[in-house]
């Protein structure tokens, strides 16, 4: 438990708390990652396999074989009962409750097998066409560019604007500070869904509808970000700022040379969150963007959802594709979260 809390137990033998921790993590991997892994596997399933009920873990397809005398490959079944029990046969056609089959070794002789006494022979196969279809179907790279542009610009603006505000709100005493803070947290209380329409009308009046900036700008001053950064900056000792002031640093310099680097963990978190929000954002781009050439990956992905049916095979493949960049970004940024540099030299 101490090790839980202190992280600096540098002994060679594993403490029992280490075992606990690893047990927890193993369970975590199963529970947190298992479903995700299943999704990734499922993105390689055919639409038919996805509709399979009950669902299966791995992507299966029925074995097909080319039998001499037949133009198309025939599906292979295993016979479960009767004289042919245990043998693999290729089905030519099914009429009512009877299957007409041939043995691949003897394609001339047509046999009849009760429909109930056969079982499809299946093997694991990846339906990579789910992926290749995406690139044929629409201009994937255009959507990728739009998503990337929105994500990068929005994150940069969010980080700059939010960290400046958080700096002011955490390190200055001024009249109205409490009010500003209360307003910022207060607006969090109104569910975002309900303000979409008013926001749409405002953005329209700014002339930003159907432009990428119309997606970038409105969410840039996120209250969550300001709140998160402010609370982190509160933990930075004021004496460091004083020291910098004595060192003739201007307030702006204190902001970007002292506060920003010292808030690196929180900035990294906000960067990850902002990237994630923007990359995955669906509702707002859906309403703010109209022309297909401005669409983001999420909009394209959701266009697989029709009125009655969803093309899950394509949707899952696209989901996995859109996940890849953000996972890479996370892997890169997560190490900054652990950059503990808060030691100021004091006790």
């Amino acid at each position: 438990m101490t090790a839980f809390l202190t992280r600096t137990r540098g002994r060679k033998r594993l403490h029992w708390t280490d075992w606990m921790a690893y047990a927890y993590l193993t369970l975590g991997v199963l529970l947190m990652f298992g479903p995700v892994l299943w999704l990734v596997l499922s993105s390689f399933k055919t639409e038919r396999e996805l509709q399979n009920y009950p669902p299966r873990l791995l992507p299966y397809v029925q074995k097909m074989e080319t039998v001499p005398g037949y133009d198309k490959p025939l599906p292979i079944y295993k016979v479960t009962a009767g004289p042919l029990a245990g043998q693999e046969v290729a089905q030519i056609r099914r009429i009512g409750l009877i299957s007409q089959v041939v043995k691949p070794s003897d394609p001339k002789t047509v046999l009849k097998v009760p429909f109930k006494d056969r079982k499809a022979v299946e093997h694991v196969a990846l339906a990579t066409s789910n992926y290749s279809k995406l690139f044929e179907r629409f201009n994937f790279f255009r959507f990728f560019y739009n998503s990337t542009f929105i994500t990068v610009m929005a994150t940069l603006i969010t980080l700059l604007v939010n960290s400046m505000a958080a700096f002011a709100l955490s390190k200055y005493q001024f009249r109205g500070r409490g009010l500003v803070m209360a307003l910022i947290i207060g607006t969090l209380m109104i569910p975002p869904t309900v303000v979409l329409v008013p926001l749409f009308l405002i953005v329209r009046d700014f002339g930003m509808i159907d432009s990428l900036w119309g997606v970038i700008i409105p969410g840039a001053a996120t209250p969550t970000g300001v709140f998160l950064l402010r609370q982190y900056m509160l933990t930075i000792p004021d004496e460091i700022l004083d020291a910098a002031r004595m060192d003739k640093a201007s307030e702006w310099k204190i902001y970007w040379r002292i506060i920003l680097p010292l808030s690196a963990p929180a900035i990294a978190v906000l960067a990850i969150l902002s990237i994630m929000w923007r990359w995955n954002d669906f509702l707002w781009p859906l309403i703010a963007l109209q022309k297909q050439e401005n669409f983001t990956l999420q909009l394209a992905l959701n266009s697989f959802r029709g009125e009655f049916t969803t093309d899950w095979a394509s949707l899952l493949a696209m989901t996995v594709l859109t996940l890849v960049p953000i996972v890479v970004v996370f892997a890169f940024l997560q190490k900054y979260i652990a950059t503990g540099i808060a030691s100021t030299g004091g006790k």
């Binding site: 009512g96 297909q292 029709g306 009125e307 009655f308």
Partner: protein, 426 residues
Amino acid sequence: MIQKRKIAAAAVAATFLAATAASAEVQLRFECAQDGNECDTMMTIFKQFEAKHPDIKVKMDLVPYKAILENLPVDLAAGTGPDLAKVTDLGGLHKYYLDLSPYVEKTYWEDNFGKTLDWYRAGPQDKGIYGLQTQLTITGAFVNKTLFDQANVALPGKDATWDDWAKASREVAKATGTRYPMAMDRSGHRFAGLAIPYGATYFDADGNPELNDPGFAAASKQFVAWNADGTMDRNVWAGQGGTSYADATKEFVNGELVFYYSGSWQIQKFADQIGDAFDWEVVPAPCGPAGPGHCSGMPGGSGVVGFKSTKHPKEVAELLNYLAQPDNYAMLEAKSLNIPANATVAKAGVKYEGATPGAAKALNAFSAQVPTISPVGYAYQGYKNNRAMFNITVTRLTQAIVGELSLTEALDRMSADLKQAVNAAQ
């Protein structure tokens, strides 16, 4: 406002007309969401149109269905809508529609699209032409024929009632060990396919909508009972809440369901996914206590409309008129595997492209049901607040199924909800 905008647009156009010839090209934006390939097929036809009208370009924005349902009305209200779109809330968006009648041959449209034109209109007095029904759907029942064969139960005949089907399905399910005898999509629209044979009228004598007529109540009672005794697959309705949609496609495709009440749009999917696993069929619309005249499915579907806010009404109308022509329309229906709403095309019959024999047979079976659709079905489909009624039915009926409300309470709540919705929509 629109008038002003038109004048401004005209002025701008006049100024630049001489200067730039290229600016004479008209671009039409078409917003579309699809289940299969409807939008893509329409685009191929539009390409042919472009070839004939080099000055008009059609640009399609393929969007999630959610955008059509939830965002398009906001866009239209805010004046940022597209020129035309494929919509499903046919009556609800009426106030934004462009009247095509000044630009198209009215008699052709009237003769061929007859009843569906009403769905886009404001009311009986309205004689405008607003939309082209590109996808006519009809609700109906699919059965797993193979299971019937295995159980050695004969399919109930042409005039079989819902009750007959329930009995037969239960028998088949029991004999074959199938999990679910019957299922119905979780939709108020589908429920009408049960309610109409039970005598539901949906409108009172004055034409006001209602959700508590005796027929409707009887159907509700039956439906709740079937959910309670396991005749209906409870997962579909009781496993959900609110207005969310759910279907039993999975169960049917996997042979776990004997009788599935859904609609014509499923055919393509069934053909693809069931393949050779079992035989399935579309059966005639089940009847009910209300008698033979009421054996009817619910019509529905989507259509393409132009919007008043467009700067190019003439071009929009030309485009829709082109699509409405028998050859083009037939091609659209043939490729997207839909039932034609155009009388000429329907009479000639559609040669469905790439459809398996089973699918083609099913499509034709549904086509055959179109003429027998009950007037109640047409009226219900054409009522502008029908989506509110669908939603209310689903929400409240589910509450009765899971026991949150008694059936009486549920019916009372439906009436109250409907009143609130109708008031708000006025």
